[in-house]
């Protein structure tokens, strides 16, 4: 094909810089198309939402530990409609529960893990000047932001925010107040955002990797983001379809999820009926199981980077880890109904889904085992990122192993509606994924700012969080095994059989509140280090991957000289080499 017309010659780097400086505050920091600025925007917004979602849960923990007792000080501030006299109403508890889940998953962890780290680190690690579609990237952030605002605004509509759980099961959600409509609109915005992001990540990874960077030379983190993007791309649209159908049910009065002859408050509903509440569950979990891997794969990627760097040796079993990632991605699409054993699906279906579930646990175990064996014989540096990465391993391990009984139909049925499930899931995501995200913040902070975060504060943050996380979640296994339902707004206080374990609710709650106190050193450290942290060079951790060849912080366009990859990602402690690491881009 001929190429008529002249393409403008690329500007010199200095000219780019001058052009960039001329952008002004709004285009530089707010409506930026630079992947690093967008990554930081995503990261900070995600961290704020994480803390907000955590605060909702701290309110719930008061009600669970001290049901019916007025909450001092804060209780009266929340108003008569939510906490009359400081005592929480069940409706408000349901709002908090639904929005805690929604905010933590869709507005906290995913934006931080994929939007934040993916945007900031991935293009740098593959030596790209930016993402493939910078303007789509900006649109992705602003769709996310609008989705977040919609979710927050729903707290102030009559009847309050969504109250039907983060899963929004029908028909409860169809009959719920107007907050649910806001939830659906917010979700459609968030899905649009992650769709744009996913297209961008995949295209960037395939097209913009530098010369010599073949797929089997990718850092583990790049692979993790690559697989995650496919999950986002293909799993989210069915939820969008389901959201549109639920919106139709709520606004246009259709009956997609409404069965015939439903009786509400003693009266038979007059809608057409003939719909299926189970259809919603299928569509929801078809998204939400891959979503679990969207939460965990980037975390594994971050931990892989940090472990290789701080053991000063290559990742053990790099190839099997990559194959496991890809296999996990495929399998995550055919395990969803293990969330639905309680629906009475019959043994044939259950047998299929419990088999796939047992199979999917294998690649997870391969990755975790490879990470643990990677520690063997390393000269380990116990800095803050490494501590969080090391904390991830046993915490994710507990989360994963406690999931096995939930993957089997027979043992799932008695456990499924108890606190055991809450404990299992939170071990995977809270001391699992969130620890990995903290590790990533400490690890790449010098790249983003040119300064290191304080190590002492970091260690206080780590050890405090490690202890508190276990105090919060370990009792939940015991409460759950005692049979306490996870859907009670008084934590089981009205049930005789729950009395012997009620004191553990108090323990969990105090664990959560003290956990909040241990986040203060992090928040202080984060902002203080931006301006006052110890200055570092371009490669403070003596790392091998390409992002460390860029200046810290990298300018618009990232690299002063376009890098080239000459070797695999983790050439640490190579025999006969002059130093204990050989950067990927060093000839």
């Amino acid at each position: 094909m001929s190429q008529p017309g002249a393409v403008a010659p690329p500007e010199s780097h200095a000219a780019l810089e001058a052009h960039h400086e001329a952008l002004g505050f709004w285009r530089h920091y707010v409506f930026s198309v630079d992947h690093k600025v967008i990554g930081i925007q995503y990261g900070i917004t995600g961290l704020v939402f994480l803390f907000f979602g955590f605060s909702l849960m701290m309110l719930m923990r008061w009600q669970l530990a001290y049901p019916g007792i007025p909450l001092p000080l804060l209780g009266s501030l929340l108003g008569e409609a939510r906490m009359p006299g400081g005592t929480m109403l069940p409706e408000f508890y349901n709002e908090l529960g639904a929005m805690h889940g929604t905010i933590m998953v869709f507005l906290g962890v995913v934006p931080l893990a994929v939007g934040g780290f993916g945007n900031f680190v991935l293009p740098l690690q593959i030596g790209a000047p930016d993402m493939a579609f910078p303007r789509l990237n900006m649109a992705s952030y602003w769709f996310f932001f609008l989705g977040g605002v919609t979710m927050l605004a729903s707290f102030f509509v009559p009847g309050g925010a969504a109250q039907s759980g983060w899963t929004s099961y029908a028909p409860l959600s169809v009959l719920a107040g107007s907050g649910q409509t806001w939830w659906l609109v917010g979700m459609i915005l968030l899905i649009t955002s992650s769709l744009l992001g996913a297209i961008n990540f995949i295209t960037t990874t395939i097209q913009l990797r530098v010369k010599g960077l073949t797929f089997m030379r990718f850092p583990f983190f790049v692979w993790a983001q690559f697989v995650t993007s496919f999950l986002l791309l293909l799993a989210f649209p069915p939820l969008e379809a389901a959201g549109a159908m639920q919106l139709m049910d709520r606004v246009a009065g259709t009956s997609f999820f409404m069965p015939s002859g439903l009786v509400v408050g003693g009266e038979v509903l007059t809608n057409a009926g003939g719909g299926s509440p189970l259809l919603w569950q299928h569509l929801f979990w078809f998204l939400a199981h891959p979503e679990v891997y969207v939460l965990i794969l980037p975390a594994m990627g971050i931990v892989g980077e940090i472990i290789a760097n701080n053991t000063r040796k290559p990742l053990w079993g790099y190839r099997s880890m990559i194959y496991s990632l890809v296999f996990l991605g495929f399998m995550s699409f055919i395990v969803w109904a293990h969330h639905m054993f309680m629906t009475g699906m019959g043994t044939t279906m259950a047998a299929f889904f419990q088999t796939t579930t047992m199979i999917i646990s294998i690649p997870s175990v391969v990755i975790l085992t490879a990470l643990i064996i990677s520690l063997w014989g390393g000269s380990i540096r116990f800095n803050t990122p490494m501590l969080f990465a090391l904390g991830f391993l046993p915490m994710f391990g507990i989360g994963g192993l406690t999931g096995l009984p939930l993957g089997l139909n027979v043992s799932d049925i008695p456990l499924h509606d108890t606190y055991y499930v809450i404990g299992h899931f939170h071990y995977v995501v809270a001391p699992g994924t969130i620890f990995a995200l903290f590790a990533g913040v400490y690890y790449w902070f010098p790249k983003a700012t040119g300064r290191k975060m304080n190590e002492t504060l970091g260690k206080i943050h780590f050890f405090g969080s490690l202890v508190c996380m276990n105090v919060v979640f370990m009792p939940m296994f015991l409460v759950g095994l005692a049979g306490v339902s996870r859907r009670l707004f008084d934590g089981g206080a009205t049930y005789a059989f729950a009395q012997p374990v009620l004191h553990m609710n108090v323990m969990s709650s105090w664990g959560a509140w003290i956990l909040a106190v241990f986040q203060l050193p992090f928040i202080f450290n984060f902002f203080w280090s931006i301006w006052k942290g110890e200055k570092t060079g371009d490669n403070p951790w003596q790392a091998t991957t390409i992002e460390w060849a860029a200046p810290s912080p990298p300018p618009h366009g990232n690299f002063l000289v376009t890098p080239e990859a000459y070797r695999g990602p983790y050439e640490y402690s190579v025999t006969g080499a002059a130093k204990d690491f050989i950067p990927q881009c060093e000839a």
Binding site: P129, M248, A252
Partner: protein, 196 residues
């Protein structure tokens, strides 16, 4: 800043960024409509009774609309082919026809919708009409979206032809891929809703 492979092809992948991007987008669209078709099957198989489409919907009108959309796909290809032969004037004509066919499709759909609404056949009447309105409504949004992009490429976006014809041709190709997809969805919708 110049993003590499926006216009030129990366040699080892043989692709431009935009072409990967549009195909990935179409993959997600397949999942979106796939979920809706799957829901249709689930609701229909679970229904006590289900009307045949032609007892409620107007088949001749929809057949006409099918022909209109297929024609618009042909003119879309011709628009792109004109650019490949550097005939910008012909591109304008074919692209204009594509937009016009889209407009005809939407107009026919408007009369179809208003007829059903007029005789009280609304989405809440039964689940057949519910899925009919949801699927065709979502499809119409896609038609309108495709028309908006095509109108941009016909009008203000065509300035790119003067400075970078290759890039402009790529854009028309990507818009065309989306347009063919929208057409294809209708090819599935027509028998599913009107004939079965």
């Amino acid at each position: 800043m110049e993003i590499p492979y926006t216009v030129e092809v990366r040699r080892d992948t043989g692709l431009t960024n935009g072409r990967i991007g549009i195909w990935l987008f179409l993959a997600s669209e397949v999942m979106l409509f796939g979920a809706l078709f799957a829901s249709y099957i689930l609701i229909r198989t679970g229904a006590v009774s289900w009307p045949r489409g032609d007892t409620i919907l107007d088949v001749p009108l929809a057949t006409f609309n099918t022909l209109v959309l297929i024609s618009s796909s042909v003119t879309m290809v011709m628009a792109w082919a004109s650019l490949m032969r550097h005939r910008f004037g012909t591109f304008r004509i074919y692209m204009g026809l594509t937009i016009l066919f889209g407009f005809v499709f939407l107009t026919v759909k408007y009369f179809e919708y208003s007829h059903h609404l007029h005789i009280g056949e609304v989405p809440s009447t039964n689940n057949f009409l519910a899925i009919y309105y949801t699927l065709t409504g979502l499809h119409m949004l896609h038609v309108a979206g495709g028309m908006a992009v095509n109108a941009y490429l016909w009008g203000p976006g065509a300035k790119l032809w003067q400075t970078n014809p290759q890039w402009f041709t790529n854009r028309v190709e990507h818009s065309g891929l989306f347009w063919h997809f929208v057409d294809l969805v209708w090819i599935f919708l027509f028998p599913t809703l009107y004939l079965l």
